[in-house]
Amino acid sequence: MSTTVRRRTGAPYLFLAPALVLFGLFLAAPIVYAGYLSLRRVRVSGLGLGSGSRTEIWAGLENYTRSLTDPEFLPSVLRVGAYGLIVVPCMLGLALILALLLDAGRTRVGTFARTAIFLPYAVPAVIASLLWGFLYLPRVSPIVDVLDRVGITAPDALSSSWVLYAVANIAIWGGTGFNMIVLYTALRAIPTELFEAARIDGAGDIQIALRVKIPIIAPSLVMTTLFSLIATLQVFAEPMTLRPLSNTISTTWTPLMKVYRDAFVRNDIYAAAATSVIIALATFVISYGFLKLVGSRAFSQEN
């Protein structure tokens, strides 16, 4: 079966032109520029106060060594790893269960639940983190308040032993609905005949879900996992918003926060660029590794 038509015309290039121009200007050029900056640094002379006391010079790989040997860098990478181990399975597990429940059609609250669970997707991460911040702080939190009334002392969500879960919860809250809709759409597309036979053989909903539905929507699961992984590596807005509320989130809590701190707080865009390049490379390696691992070609071309 041929999937494409009409070879050897200029048309595809013209269709691609706007995308390529924009891609070049606003994605490729900035990335190349970041790569260039990562090899530069500023050199100050003397007190550094007069104009012209600053010059930009080549730095070689110095920014990379500084970034990788920063004692805070490895912990922040490990933290993001732990965060990903919490967020990705919890979020996708919840999304899959909820999507299967919706698809099984054994409830009258389906439309309401679907809309309600999807709602957080419309809330910007900055605002979601602010809301959850209120819900985490013991003195203003309704959760702590209610638990207190029934005699349970809730742990301080932003204390060092809980803060990782507190941040992960915001991501799970915001992302479950979206992934649920993706999986639900895939489930709805399964032809009924494929599992009616199993049902006639006496299989229950759970068995049908495990043996028929989940294998069929595996490509969708792979894709949602991949996109969740990428989002995980980029965790930034949630800890950034919660940081001023607690003692437990440092300015370099995740690698992207370090980029932000170097670029905007320390005014060292060269170090920020070097860390950015490292993060970008790590993202590629992990995404590629994941796709190799699951053996899926979902993310590549069909032919």
């Binding site: 429940l101 639940a113 009924t192 590629f284």
Partner: protein, 299 residues
Amino acid sequence: MAVTTVPVVPTTTGATTAPRVQRHRRTSPTATILLLLGAAYCLMPVLWVLIASTKSASELFTTFTFTPSTHLFDNIAFLTSYRDGLYWRWMANSALFAGVGAAASTLVSAMAGFALAKYDFRGKSLVFNLVLAGVLVPAVILAVPQYLLLAKAGMTNTYWSVLLPSMISPYGIYLCRIFAAATVPNEVLEAARMDGAGDWRSFVRVVLPMMRSGLVTVFLFQFVAIWNNYMLPFIMLGDDKLFPVTVGLSGLLNQGATQPAMYTSVVTGALLSVVPLVALFLGLQRYWRVDLGAGAVKA
């Protein structure tokens, strides 16, 4: 290797009217309870913000958090009067950035996705791999170099500085390629060509209508992404009359040590800023479909 596309029928029918016969089956209390628990988890913070926005500044910090008060309209009135209605200007800016940016991005993505799905040409896999790589790049990393480059063109602190970078969405192109491959049969293109239609004409007359529900999805994606974007406008814009609502609200929150944070205004503003998105989703729900696996290859 057999190429099997998961059969979807994504023309004008959306997810809510999927072509499957609805069976009348026993309802399961367990399913209902689990779904309601999920809904409660997702709605609780929203309910909280709804209640919090009815409280006056001192009530917000003194009364039991789930007791509503009566100050919603006072809060909205205060927010409206804040610096001569600046808040509504931020909302209008957000609508402009998200509306125009998402529309342009959808068209650009549709053209590129169509070309990638339906043509063979030299450099195709290079372009596609570039797009995939683009999906992986975090916005925070792009913000500074984008700023430095746009500043060289003297374009920072203008609407363009936010609009133009928002128009390119590798993810949108990726989705459009899937939608085009799944919904536009080659026979239809051939038929259009037989009728003497040029490439552009058949794209506008035939392809775009067929991809409609996919394009709505891409539009919504991009609309939400731009509406919720913080980093790009934060760094590009200096004039607060150009701010979108995310940057404006975070400014009310982080006023620096010498000013009190305007919590009631932030809470009320946050509530109001989510309303257009929710309305848009409910309104376009019947077109909404995401089938990431649809273009997948199974061995």
